[in-house]
Every structure is written in C-alpha cells, then in structure tokens.
Amino acid sequence: MLRHRQLPVHSLQSSIIIIIVISPRTADTSSLGLLIGIIITTMVVYAVLILNKAGGLIYQRDFNPGLQKLSSNDYLILAGTFHGVHAITSQISPTNETSSSGLEVLESENFVMRCFQTLTGTKFLIFAEPRQQNLDVVVRRVYELYADYVMKNPFYQIEMPIRSEGFDRHLTSYIKPHQ
C-alpha cells in the first residue's frame, strides 16, 4: 500500500501535482526511501455523478464549466439510460470471461467519462477534459470520500439522494483545491 501526498501547484489552466510515494517497508527502517514521481496533469473535472444500484441518480454536481446544463429530469434520464447501457455492456463481453466490468471509459473529442462501479453496485461517473489523466485515481478518491462522508453519516438513508454539506465541501476541495 502506498501513501500519496499531493501538493497541487496552480499555474494558469494547468496544475502540477507532485506525488511523493513513501514505501511503508522502507519507511519502517532507518533507510528512508523516497521515490518522487512528477506527473504533470490538468485537473479539470467537469462533473461528478453518483448512481445507486437501481440506476437512480443520487448525486450530481458540476465543478467546471464545459458541460451542457440539463434539467433535473434530464439528468435522471441520463442516469437511467447509462445504467441500462452499462448493464448491456457488461453482458456482451467478447472474451470468455463470464462476467465483465461493463463500460468503464467513454472518450470523445470534447470530454472523457470514467465510470467506476463498486462491488455493491453503486456507480461513480466522472466527466473531465479529454486531456485529464489518472481519472481512476480521482474516482477512487471520490469513492473514499463517499464512504466517509455519506455512508458513515448515520442519518443518511441508503440509496437516497445525497444532501451532505461535508461531502460537498471535501469533494470540492479535492477536485478544485486551488480555488
């Protein structure tokens, strides 16, 4: 297990994220080994959507301009449609594997979408700029925030729309740390 420490540095539209990776094995001993990987990336995430296991939209939030605004009903339709498409894609795997993860990435000229389905059936959709890298890292982090600030809130009703200030706040500070 690696520990990531992210230090975002804002420069114009793009930011430079320096990830310092500390190996726990070497960290325990006196010879501290530091591996510094520098990944230059643009952190422009347009929107985050969360779908419950029945395909209902339980969270939708725009972070950067770039996506068309939809009515709340259209967002629900989008979520339901995606849920269906995802179910189909997980059934039509061309390999011999009995189960497939289904649709994970959708790329187009103007955006990239990353879908992550947890083992419980909840789906996280992230829409970002096509250049955006490491979306799988972003989506894992969003899942952790969801596990912490949504699921651990004893008054949150499972499968219902998320109205959590703490989740909003932490999500915003993760996705737009420099604003």
Binding site: M1, N52, K53, A54, T120, G121, R140, Y146, A147, M151
Partner: protein
C-alpha cells in the same frame, strides 16, 4: 489474491489507512449499549440479541463501502471460501485488529465458523448472574448483524449467529456463517 497477500493487505490497511481510537472507549461504549438494551427490554435476552443484530445490520450496510474503498478490493471473491478468508484477514483485521480463525467447513462449502481467540468487545465483561443471561444472551451479537448487512450489499444473503461464547463458560467463541444464496437481481435494499 492468495491467502498470505490478503493477510498482508489487512495488515497494511490497519497500519496505514485506519484512524485509531482508544480500545477501552469502544469496549465501554458497546458495553453500555448492551447493558442499556438489557435494561430497556427488561431482561428479554432474545429481544436484546435481535436488536443487537439489527443495529449491526445497519452498520454493515454502511461499513461495506468503507471496507471496499480502503482495502481497494476490486475483484469479486471467486467462491465462498475466498469470502471467508477476506472477512477474517482483511475485514476483522482492519476494523478490530483481530484475525478470527476459519474452521469447520461444511461439505458443500456453504457454512463455516469463525473462532474468536480474542474479542475486543468483550474485554472486562461478565454476564449478569440472573440465571438467564448465561444461557440466552449473545453478548457480541452485533458482529453477526454487521456481517449479514455487509455481505448482503455484495450480493450474498447469509445467516450469521453465535453458537458458543467464552462469556457463557464455553471453551471457544464461535460464530457460524451460512450462505443462503447469491442475490442475482440488484434491487435496492430497505434500511431497517
């Protein structure tokens, strides 16, 4: 994922990714919940067991997400034996820092026992001497509910119950887990 790498995963999550709190606080909090239930329900221990299981179930429904997010498990378990291994080596390790022993598999691989050598919930506990508690109360019954709720969220319907407890004077603390079925359709679950 092999059994030893699961043990390592559990160890790593426990060491690096889990916030720790004082164990006594947990023990005392759990103890006061059970004691209060016994009082409120007038020593109806069957009902106490049921309420503890229900509370655990609601915890399990939520805890599973934390478990999946922190352990970074993305592969479904291939079979129920794998599931048992993950519960013991990763699940119990990261939340309670214990690794119960898996034993007594049934021949169809659908039932197994977890043997608790140590149980952080039951430190300092002596069951009341009213002639009933020793034979009726399952003090740590919340754990059964947690497992039931958590597995239900990952499409497994199970029954979990204690069959022995050192608090009752038994030699071991043993929980029996029985796979009822895999849930095929993904319907939303009701919160109890």
């Amino acid at each position: 994922m092999s059994s030893t790498s699961r043990a390592r995963l559990g160890e790593e999550v426990w060491k690096l990714r889990t916030d720790k709190i004082n164990a006594e606080l947990v023990t005392l909090t759990y103890g006061s919940v059970v004691a209060q239930l016994c009082k409120d329900l007038d020593g109806d221990y069957a009902e106490v067991n049921k309420q503890l299981d229900k509370m655990g179930y609601n915890i399990g429904l939520r805890l599973i997400e934390d478990f999946l997010a922190k352990s970074n498990m993305q592969q479904k378990c291939a079979n129920f034996r794998d599931t048992a291994d993950v519960i013991s080596k990763v699940g119990f390790k990261m939340f309670l820092n214990i690794t119960p022993t898996i034993a007594n598999w049934s021949s169809d691989n659908k039932q197994f026992s977890l043997l608790f050598d140590e149980n952080p919930l039951a430190d300092f506990v002596e069951l009341p001497d009213d002639g009933k508690a020793q034979s009726e109360l399952w003090y740590s019954n919340m754990l059964c509910g947690v497992i039931r709720g958590a597995l239900e969220m990952v499409q497994m319907s199970v029954d979990a119950h204690f069959v022995s407890d050192v608090l009752r004077g038994n030699d071991t603390t043993e929980m029996r887990i029985n796979l009822i079925r895999y849930i095929e359709d993904e319907m939303p679950q009701d919160d109890e």
